[in-house]
């Protein structure tokens, strides 16, 4: 059982490039934490430092209460699942899974028991005698998981374990890994660049960009209250709409003004917005917070937008509308009750209660 604690971690590679600077992160025992962010933002580097595969340039790393900066990977009580699976090609599935236990001088019958139990759990009993090259991608992935499982590590590290699988298998493995976490009751640190994986699997999500943590929160909080434009844009698909507008103040309160539109903002925003009167801000509206006007039962019909629809994509239950309002590109997701054609103008209501307002320069949240 182990918590993980990264304190002021810095990583500079041999070529002199600092990839991670002053990273702080606390991971509780038995938590399922996801590191998510675009490619190259330092997720793997962070994970590999926890594993001990990458030296820590500065800072302190604790697993449990033990400082492990100079502890070798094999003594950290961790297991890792690699993106490329990294199975031993010359060993059978059984031997692949037994290898770690054998190195730790576990008795043979105990190894056998553990390997078979893991194989059963992962549905790979039939392939135990096969070599990795005779397995499909999904099966190899499960062997890699099994190899990590049998050792009962205190911490499970997974680096994009599903990114080499096709879409269907990925969905299946996603729930399998979530279940595994419930059964094993250990700490999981999971790296992915896929926001769906992040949102569906994690107890807590750490969004990273260029080696910096942008937000560290539960999936609900990330989605409903993104702390900056990066997180707001990264989580959610299609992406949140960002619209530049000017803040105006009158006797009714604060307004967001752009093109010919003028939205009265909720009262709760008055405080934070008082510093922004007549200044430019960026409002964020999620596509699903726009509705076809007839389905929107707000008493005042003021917060509407006339969307010129370039492309209307029907997904069955919903329409994705890609279009423009004035010069702004906007994506909306509305219920598919009535037919919408390409190249028409569609009047949409904006749920102003769900709006997010960001500072134009710092890109941080002002209020939501």
């Amino acid at each position: 059982m182990a918590s993980i604690s990264l304190k002021n971690i810095k990583k500079t590679y041999e070529d002199g490039v600092t990839v991670i600077d002053n990273l702080n992160l606390e991971i509780k025992d038995r938590e399922f934490v996801i590191l998510v962010g675009p490619s190259g933002c330092g997720k793997s580097t962070t994970l590999r430092m926890i594993a001990g595969l990458e030296e820590i340039t500065e800072g302190e790393l604790y697993i449990g209460s033990r400082l492990v900066n100079n502890v070798s990977p094999k003594d950290r009580d961790i297991a890792m699942v690699f993106q490329s699976y990294a199975l031993y090609p010359h060993m059978s599935v059984y031997k692949n899974m037994a290898f770690g236990l054998k190195n730790r001088k576990t008795p043979k019958d105990e190894i056998d028991k553990k390997v078979r139990a893991a194989a059963k759990m992962l549905d790979i009993e039939k392939y135990l005698h096969r070599k990795p090259r005779a397995l499909s991608g999904g099966q190899r992935q499960r062997v890699a998981l099994g190899r990590a499982m049998v050792r009962d590590p205190a911490v499970f590290l997974l680096d994009e374990p599903l990114s080499n699988l096709d879409a269907k298998l990925r969905t299946e493995m996603r729930s399998r890994i979530s279940m595994l976490h419930k059964e094993l009751k250990t700490t999981f640190v999971y790296v992915t660049h896929d926001q769906t994986e992040a949102m569906t699997m994690g107890d807590r999500i750490v969004v990273m960009k260029d080696g910096v943590i942008m937000q560290n929160d539960t999936p609900q909080m990330l989605y409903n209250h993104p702390q900056n434009m990066f997180v707001a844009g990264f989580i959610g698909s299609p992406q949140m709409n960002f619209i530049e507008c000017t803040v105006r103040r009158d006797k009714n309160g604060f307004h967001a003004v752009f093109e010919e539109y003028d939205y009265l903002l909720p009262e709760r925003m008055n405080g934070p917005l008082s510093l922004y009167t007549d200044k430019e801000v960026i409002i964020g509206i999620r596509p699903e917070d726009m509705h076809s006007e007839s389905f929107y039962f707000k008493p005042d019909g003021a917060n509407t937008v006339n969307l010129h629809v370039d492309i209307a994509e029907m997904t069955g239950s919903d329409y994705f509308l890609f279009g423009t309002a004035g010069k702004k590109r906007i994506v909306a997701k509305i219920s598919a009750a009535e037919e919408i054609k390409n190249d028409t103008v569609c009047k949409l209501a904006v749920d102003i209660d769900k709006i997010h307002i960001f500072d134009k320069i710092s890109e941080n949240l002002i209020c939501d």
Binding site: L53, K74, Y88, P89, G100, N103, G137
Partner: protein, 279 residues
Amino acid sequence: MNTKRKTANSFYFALLLLLSVIFLFPIYLVLMNSFKSKFNIVGTPFEFPNGETFVGIENYINGINSSGIIDAFLRTAFITVGSVIAIIIFTSMTAWYIVRVKSKFNKAIYYLFLFSMIVPFQMVMFTMTAVCIKLNLNNIFGIIPVYLGFGSGLSVFMFSGFVKGMPREIEEAAMIDGCSPLKTFFLVVFPILKPTAITVAILNAMWIWNDFLLPYLLLGTTDKTLSVAIQIAMQGAYGSIDWGGFMAMLVLAIIPIIVFYLICQKYIIKGVIDGAVKG
């Protein structure tokens, strides 16, 4: 296929066929003459043995009985096997280390190995012989480290090439699975390197088995290897050369290395990484 390509193909085929014949003909001559009586070899070397000239395995018996060829054979086998094992073990570990541990020093070492492939043996042979005799390497045990030196350039080069293409994650997985570097090498890396190791073994076995100059310089005519023994037999005792026995010795000298090659060739550079990573 158009006619132009067809003509070109037949032309290349004929050319290659001719080349093959030129290369194979001497071997054929040796094999054929090894069954002829020694007096007919010199007179009619190109004639196929017939009832009159065919002597069965008499030449082989004579060849083996004379000139201590059995000793020479065993000596050569010992030197070849010893050197090849040493080359495989040392150069594979060296290559793994210099590829995986990046430093200026290792890079310099790597280029030194490459450079050693370019230097012709003839250039260093006299100074090297003198040094080796000073170091007491002029015996069948001492010659093994000398072969290790001469074989390591190409071998390190070949192993490095393969290690560079090996995904590092496999070794990292082994480290997490509780392996020390040595264990990682012998339990994980070396088995993956096996096809390269076999290729390296064949290449080195062939030249060490057939080598004449180095054993001649270091071991001289007292501890004869096969090629030295054959050379001495050919010089003969002032003109009285037993050509029949000589041919038989040649055949016997070629056979082991060909057998070794045939056994190993199916393993040469066969992809073993398949299945280790994604796919």
